[in-house]
Symmetry: C2
Subunit: 239 residues, 2 copies
Amino acid sequence: MATRTRRPERRQEPLSREHIVGAAVELLDAVGEDGLTFRALAERLATGPGAIYWHVRGKTELLAAATDAVVAAAVTIEPAESAESADSPQDGIRAVALGLFDAIEEHPWLATQLATQLSRSPWGTVAPRIFESIGRQVCALGVPEESWFTATSALMHYILGAAGQNAANTASAGTARPDVDRAVVLDAVSAAWEGLDPDDYPFTRAVAKQVRGHDDREQFLAGIALILAGITAIHSLTT
Amino acid sequence: MATRTRRPERRQEPLSREHIVGAAVELLDAVGEDGLTFRALAERLATGPGAIYWHVRGKTELLAAATDAVVAAAVTIEPAESAESADSPQDGIRAVALGLFDAIEEHPWLATQLATQLSRSPWGTVAPRIFESIGRQVCALGVPEESWFTATSALMHYILGAAGQNAANTASAGTARPDVDRAVVLDAVSAAWEGLDPDDYPFTRAVAKQVRGHDDREQFLAGIALILAGITAIHSLTT
DNA sequence: GGTCACTCTGGAACGCCGTTCCAGCAGCCG
DNA sequence: CGGCTGCTGGAACGGCGTTCCAGAGTGACC
C-alpha cells in the first residue's frame, strides 16, 4: 500500500552517484576518454549538466570514481576463481594480475586513468585495493614480513607498467576486431624497429623479430614469473 | 640552454620546432600539465597561437615531442656516468632506471605523459629509446637471446610503473620543498592505511608502518634488484 | 492543511581552451 | 619591380568544464 500510488511517472531513477559513475564507465567504454563529456553524460542520463554536479564534485572526481569502480570489480573477482580451486600463492598473484590485465583490455581508457590516478594521488583508493590483493598472496608465499612492502610494490608496479603499455594493442583494434589487425600492427612495429639507425639502436633492431609473433598475455606472465623467481631466490624460498 | 632567461624579448629567433618544444617543457615544469596552453605558450614565445601550428600539428604532438625530448635527455646521460666507471651491467641498468626516475622527479608531468604516450601508441619514439638503453645491459648480462625481449620488457615495465607512482611524492611537494612535507604526507598515508577496514585490508594495515619511513629511491632499486635476481636465477647466470 | 525549508533538478550562461582562418609580412626568383 | 612562397600572429569559432539560479518535489512542523 505504501508504495502503491508511486507510479513510474518518474522518467528515471533518482540519479544517484552510482548511476552517474556507471553511465560514465559505459560512456568511456563506448566513445573513449575524450567522449566523456558532462553534456553527453547528462543527455545519457536524461538530465542537465548541473544536476550531475550535485553528486560529483567535478570531472576529476568522476574519472577517479569510474577508475575505482572498475578496479574494484577487477580485483575482487579473484576469490571465485582462485580461493578454492587455485592452490599456490603464485596462482593467486597471476589471477590478480590477469584480472587487471583483462580489465584494461576491456576498458582501454583504464590504462591512462590508472597512471594518472596513481601519479596524482598515489595513495588514493585504487592503490590499496591492488596492493591488498597482491600483498595477501605475497604473504602466503612465505616472504619475511620486513620484505612485504618491497615485494608487493615491485609486483604492483610491474603489473601497472605492463598493463598500461599493452592496453593499446587491443584498444587500437577497436570493439570487435579479431587478431588480424594485431598481426598487421605487430608487423608494422617490427618493420619500424628494423628500420632504425643501426648505430643508435642495435639491440632494438636485434629484437625486432621477436616482436612479430609474441603474445601479450604470455609475455605479461613471463614478466611476473621473472619477479616471482627473484622473490623466491632472494629469500631462498621453496618453489 | 640552461639559462633562465624568461624574457621573450628576442623577437628575431626564427621560432623553430625546437624552441617551441623547449618552451613547452619549461612551461610544463613551471605550471604543470593544465598550465600548458597554446595561448600561454604563444605569449612566452612572443607570438600568436596560430604561428605555433605551423611547426606543430596539435597539442597531442606537442606533448609527445616534449616527452620524447625529456626522455631522450634522461636516457642518454648514462654513458658519461657508467660507460667507463661503472663496470657491471647491473650498474648500467640501475643507471638507466635512476635516470628515468630522476627525470620524472624533475618533471612531474612526465609520469602521466609517459603512461599516456605508451598506452596511446606503445611503439612510438619513446619506447625504443628506453628499450634500447635497458636492452644493451640485459644483453651484456649474458641473458640468452631468446629471452632478451622478455627480460628487457619486464625491466622497462617495472621502471615505468614504479617511476609513475613515485612521481607524486615529490611532485606534490612543490618546487623547492625539502623532506619535511614528505614525512607529513607519509605519516598521513600510513595513518590512513591503518584506519582501513580490518576485514577488507588486513595486509595493507599490517604494512602501513613500513610506509612511514621508507625511501623511494631505495625501494625503487630494491624492486630492480628483485627482477635482476629473477633474471639471473632463471637463466642461472653468475651474479 | 498550509507553510517553510531543504534536497535535488536541469537549462542557461561564463570563461577558457584547442583549433582554424586569413590578412599581412619578409625574402627570393624571374 | 611584381608575384610567389614560407611563415607570422591576431581574430574568430565551436565546444568544453563549471557555475548559477529558478523552480519542482518532499517531508516536517505548526
